[in-house]
């Protein structure tokens, strides 16, 4: 396996872990954590493609990763604020309890 393939496989695994967590955990915060993990996996892809791609002198991958980190920070802040508000209104962050949109 080439280094790029290793990197990408590693990031796929990380993505899978995050996805599994997001799909199975009941706590909304942990779902958010899982999403963070998936985001990080994607970030790793940027770096890997930058490092092993044909044009490492161009910094696009790095810049993408930096912007992605910034956006992830914003997303976490708003997401956690939402979860706290939900908790305050519903007394729970358990996703099984939060099904008011049930059809």
């Amino acid at each position: 396996m080439s280094p790029l393939a290793q990197c990408l496989s590693f990031s796929c695994l990380l993505f899978g872990v995050g996805l599994a967590g997001a799909l199975t955990r009941r706590n909304a915060i942990l779902v958010l954590v899982g999403i963070e993990l998936m985001l990080n996996a994607a970030n790793l892809n940027f770096i890997a493609f930058w490092r092993f791609g044909p044009h490492p002198e161009q910094l696009t991958g790095i810049l993408f990763a930096i912007f992605s980190i910034g956006i992830a920070a914003a997303e976490t802040a708003v997401g956690l604020a939402l979860i706290i508000t939900i908790y305050r209104h519903r007394g729970s962050t358990n996703l099984d309890d939060l099904t008011s949109l049930k059809g």
């Binding site: 799909l23 199975t24 779902v31 996703l95 049930k102 059809g103």
Partner: protein, 708 residues
């Protein structure tokens, strides 16, 4: 823009300010509490003072204009409604007619305002009264400055509204409320004609502006066009429009046959009577005829002679004689004056019809002053004898109320046309002179002479009753307490004897008396300053010889004779031996009871209307009801049953065909919705899982798709 326009900028462009002041005052008073008397007074009187000042400025500006050339009418038009290529313009005009009327209205109005301070001092609704007065003044000034028939009509209706409010000011009195309604509805009949005339005028000439630098409807081009077209019974369009507009004037100015509202309107407070009957509202009709005079005169065979003007003259003379006759037999002090007003308005119309704008307007102006004087004098008398209006219960008041007596006498002589020194003589003489020279018919002249005779007679009768002899009212004190309180809140001590009115009321009387004497001299044939101003020609110099030209001397002699006869007859019948008690029969009644009764009952016009129009209306209404109930009602019933039958069939179709299918469809959709909403279990992770599965599927698809 030629220089004359540039010059007129200041006062003409801001002419709208004159009515705006009273309007503003009315607005302020409208939101003032009833206790804000001082504010209301200051606002109303102050606005009238400002309006008067501006009117004088405008008058001065008109006087200062060069009468040789230049445009007579200084106008300022503003587009109001833009409808496609058509535009409805409003505007105002400043010409001699406007200027004279402005000064007259604002001056008399101001005096009446001041007089009202005293007259209404004890009324609880003092503030409201001044608000209405200010509204009235604003509307009237608006009528005067209007350069568009539409604008004039708007203000005209506002005048009608304000007069309704003012006549019905004491609306607790059923008679006042009824009188207000009567005035409003009767004038509305005339206004209908005015409105139709306006529409017709607009559709024929395309404009409602009077003067618009050659495009206005009163200017040569439009007049020629209007006079050129003919309509039913061979009448020119201009004549038709003129007659319709004259309908409005008939209603407003109380001409026969729509004069019935005017005497009833005496139910309002006396300043209102003065304002409405002397100076302004009734003058509005005359003014309207004067304003549209070019239209009236259009298409006639000779200048000053046309079908419309002939109608105006005849209506005028009939009204003059008719109302004068009625006035002879009345006993209510204000009603006598009211019929006198109707009669004088007839004279004005006659003057307009036979002699042109200047003749009619001159009488309007002089009449405004002395009739305001008379009304306010009458108000003073009524005030002095504790709300008594029956002249039979007065008498000998000249000792109690010397100022009122003197000023009233001046007014009476001016109205009667006592020669040389009083304004009424000159203006009435001008009308008679013009009627004498009228080619169409000699009868208006003789009618006018008869009217003048009657005028002198009934005024002498009234003065003799009111001011001479012994006071006959003291015996009636006990019963007057049960009479409806005309003006509640009079707290001054009632000792039963008449008393002189306060200075705030007699002051305006004195001023008006001065004008009732002095105003005549600006329009004598010897020095026709007023006429030359209105006709817009250079001022003639004083020339006594002109008094005796063109049969002037005979006319004057005749009218002096007539006046002398009238006053003499009146004094002989009433003044020589005054009635000794209130119940004593009238002299005329003693000798000619039948005639007198007819006159006292106003020729039974109201009863005639009652018996004819109103009865007819009732009958017609009954007929319509019957028709509705049986003929149309049956027809409607049959049709409705038919419709019911059809709709029943329709319902069957709906219920079993349309609804059935629709219900099936709905049920299907609902089932589909229910089952698909099961997908939405509200659990985030289910959604996420679906996304994951979809992602996997997409990936596999892409990978394997690529490989193949």
């Amino acid at each position: 823009m030629d220089p004359s326009h540039a010059a007129n900028a200041a006062i003409v462009t801001h002419l709208w300010v004159i009515p705006a002041f009273p309007l503003l005052a009315a607005g302020i008073i409208a939101v003032t509490r009833q206790s804000g008397r001082k504010l209301a007074t200051v606002c109303a009187v102050g606005s009238m003072v400002l309006a008067l000042i501006l009117s004088l400025v405008a008058f001065g500006w008109v006087l200062g204009r060069d009468r040789g050339g230049g445009e007579l009418h200084a106008v300022q038009n503003i587009p109001w409604l833009q409808m496609g290529s058509q535009s409805l313009d409003l505007g105002w005009v400043l010409d001699p007619l406007t200027a004279v009327m402005l000064v007259m209205v604002s001056f008399v109005g101001l005096l009446i305002f001041i007089y009202s301070i005293g007259y209404m001092a004890h009324d609880p609704n003092y503030t409201r009264f001044f608000g209405f007065l200010a509204l009235f003044a604003a509307a009237m000034l608006g009528v005067v400055i209007a350069n568009s028939l539409l604008f004039l009509f708007i203000c005209w209706e506002l005048v009608g509204l304000a007069s309704y409010l003012l006549i019905g000011f004491w609306f607790e009195k059923p008679s006042a409320a009824a009188a207000a309604k009567k005035a409003f509805i009767t004038t509305r009949i005339g206004d209908m004609g005015l409105f139709l005339g306006m529409l017709w005028l607009y559709s024929s000439s395309g404009t409602l502006l009077f003067y618009d630098h050659g495009q206005g409807c009163l200017e040569v081009g439009a007049l020629a066009k209007l006079a050129g077209q003919t309509t039913l019974v061979g009448m020119a369009v201009s004549t038709g429009v003129s007659l319709l507009i004259f309908c409005g004037a008939i209603g407003k100015s109380g001409q026969v046959p729509l004069h019935v509202w005017l005497p009833d309107a005496m139910e309002g407070p006396t300043p209102v009577s003065a304002l409405i009957h002397a100076a302004t509202m009734v003058a509005a009709g005359v003014f309207l005829v004067a304003r549209v005079y070019p239209l009236m005169a259009a298409g006639g065979p000779a200048p000053g002679v046309s079908t419309a003007l002939t109608v105006v003259a005849w209506v005028g003379v009939i009204t003059a004689v008719f109302a004068a006759c009625i006035a002879v037999a009345q006993t209510d002090i204000k009603r006598i004056l009211a019929y006198s007003t109707v009669s004088q308005l007839g004279f004005m119309m006659l003057g307009l019809g036979v002699g042109g704008v200047a003749v009619g307007m001159f009488h309007l102006i002089t009449h405004a002053f002395f009739k305001a004087l008379l009304f306010m004098g009458a108000g003073s008398v009524i005030h002095g004898v504790h709300e008594e209006q029956d002249i039979r219960r007065m008498g000998g008041l000249r000792r109690f109320m010397p100022v009122t007596f003197l000023t009233y006498a001046v007014g009476m002589m001016a109205l009667a046309g006592v020669p040389v020194f009083f304004a009424g003589f000159w203006s009435k003489d001008g009308i008679l002179h013009a009627a004498h020279g009228w080619q169409v018919s000699p009868w208006p002249f003789w009618g006018g002479l008869f009217g003048a005779l009657l005028t002198a007679f009934y005024m002498t009768r009234q003065v003799a009753y009111v001011f001479f002899g012994e006071y006959r009212g003291a015996t009636r004190r006990a019963s007057s307490a049960t009479a409806p309180a005309v003006s509640d809140g009079h707290h001054e001590p009632h000792d039963g004897t008449p008393h002189e009115s306060p200075a705030v009321m007699t002051g305006p009387l004195a001023i008006l008396a001065f004008f009732a004497i002095g105003l005549g001299f600006i329009g004598t044939p010897a020095w026709p300053w007023f006429q030359s101003l209105l006709s817009w020609r250079p001022v003639d110099h004083l020339e006594l010889g002109r008094l005796f030209e063109e049969g002037g001397a005979e006319t004057m002699a005749l009218s002096i004779l007539v006046v002398a006869v009238g006053i003499g007859a009146g004094w002989w019948l009433y003044g020589r031996r005054p009635a000794s008690s209130a119940t004593e029969l009238d002299v005329l009644e003693r000798h000619q009871p039948a005639v007198f009764r007819v006159l006292r009952e106003k020729f039974y016009v109201d009863e005639f209307y009652e018996a004819t129009f109103i009865r007819l209306n009732d009958r017609w209404a009954w007929f319509c009801v019957t028709l509705d109930n049986w003929v149309w009602g049956g027809l409607v019933l049959v049709i409705s049953y038919l419709v019911l039958g059809v709709s029943w069939l329709d319902r069957l179709f709906d219920e079993y065909v349309v609804n059935g299918g629709f219900d099936q469809g709905c049920r299907g959709i609902m089932r589909g919705g229910t089952s698909s909403s099961k997908l939405q279990d509200g659990n985030t992770q289910t959604y996420l899982r679906t996304i994951g599965v979809a992602l996997t599927a997409l990936l596999l698809l892409l990978t394997w798709g690529c490989h193949q």
